[in-house]
Symmetry: C2
Subunit: 417 residues, 2 copies
């Protein structure tokens, strides 16, 4: 186009000059979107949630000295000189199991059988592991020396009472949940998950599975947005399909219950694009029109306490605008890191990517033999380009694109298994 129509370049440039920079949009989100209020959540549902407060242990773990091996508890000093050809003999006086301590005192010359995790009995200070001992009648032969303290797990060696074990803002991993359990925690204060309403607008949309007229299309954006929002930790408050109709869209925007409204379709400047105008009338349009490809008609704003994202109806644009802006806001609301959740990989470009200074491009690529192959950029409506792709490359606004062989950063779609 640039080559064939030089005379109208300024018309296009006027179009661009009215669009916000991607950096401006991201910056607004970063500065204005804060984590939601905390809520108490039970232990079994804490995995992946974000702590809203520091957690301090109320107790020592373990709460007592204990055996770290299956074997025999005795006085370590008495094993000096023991060897395979010089076994030393101890009288066996009892046993200790986890939760079932030996109640007596281990006297000189004696030992008790003990299992891993059992409390150390009074008098004993070392464990001889079972494979270094031989039990026979009421006695045990010890075939190696074990100094005082050997194979004894000490009180509080894992966690000390009063210690800060996890900090506010931490996203809980499986073992974090385990550690909380080990100090007796059965619920924790975590950031509330954002509630998202998905609104697919368009007279032409019908639900998948039902009948469809020739000029109708199945709504692909609602299920895709549902999946994306789930990835970013949101709860789906509701998912609606509405006609290109001001009252219907107004109602979908205004109904209480959502922290974020994602509106796909009707976000541009056409006659049937009601959402931006309604948002401007009832709330605040922060950004509308962004210097990027695809998704340039995207925008967002506020309506009371709700963030409203205007996502283009073309599915690739919808995906891209969600990922650049809405997903970031959802992660911030949920207390997560704002940055792209995608795994990144460096790769050499197989073919050039053409862009333009002043515009950010989202370019789908396939990874083949360590190279990143750009898929046809044309057609924000070609959703199958994103299912054929392994990820995308972002061309920053200061770049005109990348030559073949350039090393680029590929953001990989869902980093599954």
């Amino acid at each position: 186009m640039r080559d064939s129509q030089p005379a109208v370049a300024d018309v296009r440039m006027r179009g661009f000059s009215s669009r916000a920079r991607v950096a401006t949009a991201l910056d607004w989100i970063e500065r204005n979107v804060r984590a939601l209020a905390p809520e108490a959540v039970a232990l079994d549902h804490l995995y992946g949630r974000v702590l809203a407060a520091d957690v301090t242990s109320g107790l020592d773990v373990p709460a007592f000295d204990r055996a770290a091996m299956d074997g025999y508890a005795l006085r370590g000093a008495e094993t000096v000189g023991a060897g395979e050809y010089n076994p030393l003999v101890f009288e066996l006086r009892g046993a200790a199991l986890p939760g079932r301590p030996y109640e007596g005192v281990v006297l000189p010359g004696t030992a008790i059988r003990i299992m891993t995790g059992a409390p150390m009995p009074e008098g004993a200070d070392a464990i001889v592991p079972a494979e270094f001992a031989r039990e026979c009648d009421e006695r045990v032969e010890v075939a190696a020396p074990f100094a005082t303290g050997k194979h004894v797990g000490h009180r509080a060696e894992d966690v000390r009472a009063g210690a800060l074990i996890m900090q506010s803002g931490r996203r809980l991993r499986a073992q974090d949940v385990g550690l909380l359990a080990s100090v007796g925690v059965d619920a924790a204060s975590v950031i509330r998950r954002p509630r998202v309403r998905i609104v697919a607008s368009g007279d032409e949309l019908v639900a998948p599975g039902g009948p469809k007229g020739i000029y109708q299309i199945y709504d692909a954006n609602s299920p895709m947005l549902r999946a994306l929002a789930a990835r970013d930790g949101a709860l789906i408050e509701s998912a609606l399909r509405v006609r290109d109709d001001r009252p219907a869209i107004r109602e979908a925007m205004l109904a209480p219950g959502a922290d974020v409204v994602l509106i796909s379709g009707g976000s541009s400047v056409g006659a049937e694009d009601h959402a931006p105008g309604l948002l401007a009338e009832m709330g605040e349009v922060v950004i509308h029109g962004i210097a990027m490809r695809p998704s340039s008609p995207a925008g967002f704003g506020r309506l009371n306490d709700t963030l409203v994202f205007l996502l283009p109806g073309n599915p690739v644009s919808c995906l891209c605008a969600y990922d650049f802006f809405a997903g970031r806001a959802l992660r911030l609301l949920g207390g997560r890191a704002a940055d792209w959740p995608h795994r990144r990989q460096r790769a050499a470009l197989k073919r050039k990517i053409a862009s333009a200074v002043g515009r950010v491009d989202y370019c789908r690529v396939r990874l083949t033999g360590g190279e990143a192959e750009p898929l046809a950029l044309s057609g924000a409506s070609i959703l199958s380009s994103t299912t054929r792709a392994d990820g995308f490359v972002i061309v920053p606004e200061e770049s005109e694109g990348y030559a073949p062989g350039s090393e680029v950063c590929v953001y990989c779609y869902e980093a599954f298994g």
Copy 2:
């Protein structure tokens, strides 16, 4: 130990020689664990699931030629010669919107207003984008030429009826769900999620949140295993705490309803370790005792159609044994890739890791300034070592460990955000 007790090295080696190689255990899992049967799942719940059958499109997407821009539909050949200083004028005869086509024919010298996604009207073959046109009264001035086909999205350009759009075995990403929706699919055949029963055995265990005697401990393994199994796509059938009691453990192993039983504690060779013997009596012990640290008392087997994993009670060993063996089996049952789900990163070791030939080590490390710092290896009971760690290094059985500065592969714990 090796330096101070050379005389007893062969005793330890006898212990080792009775343990299975990690590779043997992994190989058995790979050869014996197959994906579960398919089930039909509704569109809104397909994200992250694994397709059990190929999906072919029943229709063209789009089903008609359509406008790819907001603008004016006309005959492209009639715009030849148009320019900013030589606008060409067309009579405006109507409009087309998505789902609301223009019913007439676009005749020579005429145009209709058209919105992105609207069906192309008969007679027209190109779109003039709105920014290259000016509308005035019943006419539109066109300021640039647009050849036949320009800005027209063609029928089936996204998906052709009859085309294979997704293959069996694919784990569905957000845009995959969108593409399925776009061809009208409202449910798909996916691999069933494995149902897991978690059994924490031990007389000393109590539920977090409740009161605890001095020699009791809070059960950390059940909530940790619940989180790990969720990560690997499993459903929790139930989670039980049972005493070290043969009938209770037998009942927990035999009850129907689970594809996998994870038993933590009581997996070793001590007097109170009932699980291995029960499994041998009622089913098959495939592996018991593995040449690794921690987790050497781990094992697994089969009981009717259920896989049973014997996980050590020490929480680090439990985590490690789950991740090496049980998690892999769950992923395979669910149709996912068997390999570690962890993000990997190369890093130089800050301090040496000591291991022994013949044994696989699982060494927790912290990543600091691009270096991997090993955390104290001692103490399979020190769960906080895994919450302080960023990931782990696996020392293979043929290695005696790594010198400081060695480049190692770090498996990062949950690749969150």
